[in-house]
Amino acid sequence: MARVPIEAGFFRIPDDPDELPRLLGSRCPACAEVFFPRRLVCAGCLHEGTDDVDLATRGRIHTWTYCHVPMFGRSDVEVAGYGVGQVDLIDGPRVQSILVGGPEDLAIGLEVEIGLETLRTEPSGDDVVIYRFRPVGLAAGASS
């Protein structure tokens, strides 16, 4: 069964499940600012035309919270809670994302790595996925 993104144009799903997904970004050729998601006009210097880049797979938590109410996209699934954070990627952009782990696993400044989270399985059998970040070194079985 295929993995399909919740919305096209934001991240690339590798064919090899062992490979990390990549967020799709833009770099301004004039001022070198890097953005997520992709954009045509540089938000900083207003230069028209940017270069497509795959963004870094790691970053650090700028801030985080832990939600104790059901996640919107998972109304069909009972979840105890879930982490949300802003991650400063190594190459610059700040990305808001679901975080893997419980409140005890999360902290400002912690290094995290991108991965995919299955939100639901379609009747066709396709898994609808979104990117999320996991603390580096957190056990693979930790709940999301």
Partner: protein, 388 residues
């Protein structure tokens, strides 16, 4: 970019609002009609006196404003729809005031309404779920701001809870507030409520609301002639900004916007009005989540950066304090339907400046500030001043 407006000769002619709440049985047009009629009655006018109307709501439906205005009559007046997320009502007010200030209208109406209960019924949880930012609860984004402040400044959840308790208790004294507790709410009670997104409990989050509010502005000489015995309240100045780019900007998600947007909008409004924080007697801000109010103490210039906790602790922003905030309970207790929220702020500010805010009156209030942010994001700051 230039966003500061100084209004010339614009006064409040009438105010009206429907008490906010979960008003499932009341059609949205009737909410709008009732707020509009209250404002017209307060102004001593009918729709025939209104030259132009600005209607605000955040429901995803086109021309709802025209349909609502028809409930007040069909006079052919120009109607413009305004939508700026949570800031919608204040932006409708700003446009109405500018219509009068610019001379194109003698009398203008700003009408806001929304039904959160309709929106949740129409969309249901999980609607729009095929969007990248759908899976994350909006409250989470304000919790992220709270957590960052706790990290940087050592702010405690109890301090956020103290703000929430203050606003709940203000709500008890305001007849148009949604949340009117029958007892004195304490920070401990707020902290003990169900956790939504750490550190925010349900009592630190605004309720979903239905409601409507309406403000009529007019040339000051017309208001003075019609209302010789009432304190004249002027619309003085307004600013409205969208975001300026800075590294760390987030483009995806229900974006809260950079904090600097409020600071910069406030500075522009103060400059346009030739007034400053020291001149302001009562303030209204976007306290949809309790931690926001603490931030706005600093961003609106009422204290230096890092001193907001001290301003809170000494009671400056509560009853009898130097600069009471959100005397109608704010978004936390008065409620936050969306479109009418900013107009409810003006409603309360005008009551304060007229000296009619029974049970919560700020003694001698002469200048009021109304601020909102709208997710996405915008910030607006507006100043009102009483002639006395």
């Amino acid at each position: 970019m230039r966003s500061g407006l100084c209004f010339d000769g614009v006064a409040i002619a009438g105010i009206g609002m429907v008490r906010f709440g979960m008003l499932r049985e009341v059609p949205i047009n009737h909410l709008a009609r009732d707020a509009g009629l209250l404002a017209l009655h307060d102004a001593g006018m009918t729709l025939a006196d209104i030259d132009e109307a600005f209607v605000g709501y955040i429901q995803p439906a086109s021309m709802l404003g025209i349909k609502a205005m028809k409930e007040l009559g069909l006079t052919g007046l120009p109607v413009t729809h305004i939508e700026n997320a949570s800031a919608t009502g204040l932006v409708a007010f700003r446009e109405a005031a500018w219509a009068v200030s610019s001379g194109r209208a003698d009398v203008a109406m700003a009408l806001g309404f929304d039904k959160f209960t309709d929106m949740t019924r129409q969309s249901g949880r999980g609607a729009g779920r095929d969007q990248i930012d759908a899976p994350i609860l909006p409250a989470a984004y304000f919790a992220l701001w709270a957590q960052r402040r706790m990290y940087e400044r050592g702010t405690t959840a109890e301090q956020f809870a103290t703000i929430a308790a203050k606003n709940w208790n203000y709500g008890a004294a305001c007849p148009t507030a949604h949340r009117r507790p029958d007892h004195v709410v304490t920070a401990a009670e707020v902290l003990g409520a169900r956790m939504v997104a750490e550190p925010l409990t349900t009592m630190m989050c605004c309720p979903p609301d239905d409601g409507a509010a309406c403000i009529i502005v007019a040339r000051d000489d017309l208001v003075r002639a019609r209302q010789p015995d009432r304190t004249l309240v002027r619309a003085v100045a307004s600013s409205l900004q969208s975001e300026s780019y800075a590294p760390g900007h987030t483009f995806v998600g229900p974006v809260v916007g950079p904090a600097s947007m409020t600071r910069s909008a406030a500075e522009e409004c103060y400059e346009a009005a030739a007034l400053g924080p020291d001149d302001i007697d009562v303030a209204y801000c976007h306290d949809a989540f309790a931690n926001e109010e603490l931030e706005y103490y600093e961003l609106l210039g009422f204290c230096p950066e890092g001193d907001a906790e001290a301003l809170l602790a000494d009671g400056s922003t509560g009853p009898g304090g130097r600069i009471p905030f959100n005397t109608d309970g704010g978004l936390l207790a008065r409620g936050h339907p969306g479109g009418p929220t900013g107009l409810a702020m003006i409603h309360e500010a005008v009551l304060q400046l007229r000296g009619q805010a029974d049970g919560r009156q700020v003694d001698g209030a002469r200048v009021a500030l109304a601020h909102l942010v709208g997710g996405g994001s915008v910030a607006t700051v507006n100043l009102l001043q009483a002639d006395r």
